[in-house]
Amino acid sequence: PGCKKTTTTETQKKVKVTLYINGTLGDKSFFDSANRGLEMAVKDLGVDGKVIEGGYDPAKWQPDLEQLAQGDSEIIIIGTWQMVDAVTAVAPNHPDKKFIIFDTSVDYSKGNLGNVYSILYKQNEASFLVGALAAMITTSNMPLANKDKVIGFLGGMDIPVINDFKVGYIQGAHYINPDVKVLVSYAASFNDPAKGKELVLAQYDQGADIAFNVAGETGLGLIDAAKEKNKYAIGVDSDQYIMLKDKDPEAASHIVTSMMKNVDKSIYRALKLYLEGKLEFGKAESLGLAEDGVGVADNENYQKLVPQEFRDKVNELAQKIIKGEIKVDTAFGS
């Protein structure tokens, strides 16, 4: 079960890329997604990729990064705001190395970060869309909808990255109908699916008929709850319907759509640009609906469950956001 590819016999030198995860794989969220992006790049772009799980002890991250910078990787990919301090400290000492940091940005005014490229995602924009969709569904007469105007949100922790989803979601829901009530629960854990399920069951009991999970593994409990209570669920980060449809078709059938945060695509894109010599280091890029950094999953189930008019409305709202006609709030800097 090695994750490392050895390249001793290659004639042409491949670009070595290391993805360092300040946590572990299996989060069903951006770490897994980033890994997918790297795998895509290994396959299609022929880079030499390696992924390293750093674990959850923050004290280790900076030394690890330093080690990697001293190693033979040309590009080091890291993610999340928690790595900002580390990369800000390490990158200036290794001008020959390139760093890509996703889901956050370094502060370029701190100087000498010309070898760092930052990727940001406007998860609030896509969350706005699923919020709007949820509001339309709860007020509809779709088979599993009830007459209460209540929708649910399950967050992993009460922190800005999570609340950025929440803010967009609520704004989207209220854009459709200001009377819709949004139940918000936090699990205080990203890996307690049993608790996630319990929290959402309670939301369904309190009148919600659709709920949106932004809680990593904990969020998988939401989908189970939807299956058990026969309600709707909204996936996150990846297309969770596609992920589940073979393994648990019944649960998958409750997922109306997923709010996609395309970490994988963005990393693939960055590496591709790099190989083409077009990636601009020393700056941050913000990827929203317009850049396909985020989106709403469009799959067979979405088409089957959600009426055409709702889907049209979602598309229409997306266009408005892209054009700037709707400004979506954010939890950052608030």
């Binding site: 299996g26 890996n191 699916p193 049993a194 399920k197 319990e198 009991d205 189970d224 393994k247």
Partner: protein, 307 residues
């Protein structure tokens, strides 16, 4: 009526109490029986984890519930046996051995998960069975109780049955008598020819069985997959539950139900608009209070005759 209040007063709330309490009742019984034998078993966390994992994997590959049950129990018992071997035979500190085993369980399950499911988080790529939900028609006739008791997972009923089994083992079998004797005074027990190490090992094995059922419930009842570290501290909460209950059957059940109630309450209260940390902390504060009040009442203090 306020929908929140309405839902708390409903049968669904009590229904969920039982469901939430179940993965605490099992390990709490496990903690209780090993405590009676004189071992502090804080390895329930690890025991539950390996059982939850083994159950799902075997279920996915055999599609046979019985085999998964056997696999889950065997895995839990195996951890208990390792704990017993090190703490009883090799005289390792049992707390330390348990900490090491919890670490071990957490690592090995994720490692094997990756091998079997090619995923380091959840086993959703493995199609696991779940233990059935029991529909008892006669129960639905009973007004409120029916709503609470009916349609629960079979393991919820088994949890309650386990409390009774625990009672019988402890108070009505020679093994139970020996376990209590060994726990109170091992020298006394060995002076009548009882093999103290063996009895403690039996208690740990039983503890492993209870813990395993708790683990199986998490991965094959509560949800239908294994997730890394999915026990999320329930093995530690179980220590509190059995301690509140003085390791006695009814007490341990009540202790676990107390947790079930406060957790379920916290879940139901979660959507109201106060900081989640404040709601999340409630169960733990309640435990400290209950434990303190309970201890104050039974304090040996007065017996010693001092203030």
């Amino acid at each position: 009526m306020n929908p929140l209040l309405k839902s708390i007063l409903s049968t669904t709330f009590l229904f969920s109490v039982l469901r939430v309490a179940t993965p605490i009742i099992f390990p709490a019984l496990g903690v209780a029986i090993s405590s009676l034998s004189g071992s502090t078993n804080i390895a329930l966390e690890g025991i539950m984890l390996v059982s939850a994992f083994a159950g799902v994997v075997v279920s996915a590959f055999t599609q046979n519930l019985w085999l998964s049950l056997i696999a889950g129990i065997s895995a839990g018992v195996l951890i208990a046996l390792i704990l017993g071997y090190f703490s009883l035979k090799l005289k390792a500190d049992i707390i330390l051995a348990a900490i090491a085993l919890n670490l071990f369980a957490s690592g090995i399950t994720v490692f094997l998960l990756y091998i079997f499911a090619h995923d380091k988080g959840v086993s959703s790529s493995l199609k696991s069975l779940v233990f059935p939900i029991i529909k008892l028609d006669f129960l639905s006739e009973i007004p409120i109780l029916g709503g609470i008791l009916n349609n629960q997972n079979i393991l919820v009923y088994i949890a309650f049955l386990s409390v009774a089994i625990y009672y019988v083992i402890v108070f009505h079998t020679p093994l139970g008598l020996k376990i209590r004797a060994v726990g109170q005074n091992p020298d006394a027990a060995s002076s009548v020819g009882i093999n103290v190490v063996r009895i403690k090992l039996y208690a740990l094995i039983i503890s492993g069985v209870f813990g395993a059922l708790g683990g199986l419930y998490l991965s094959m009842g509560y949800v239908s997959w294994f997730g890394r570290d999915m026990t999320a501290g329930r093995g530690f909460i179980a220590i509190a539950a059995s301690s509140i209950g003085g390791n006695m059957p009814l007490g341990t059940l009540l202790g676990s139900l107390l947790f079930g109630i406060v957790y379920a309450l916290a879940n139901f209260l979660a959507p109201i608009n106060i900081p989640s940390e404040i709601i999340q902390v409630i169960p733990y504060i309640v435990t400290v209070l209950v434990l303190t009040i309970y201890s104050a009442r039974t304090a040996k203090e007065k017996e010693v005759g001092e203030e």
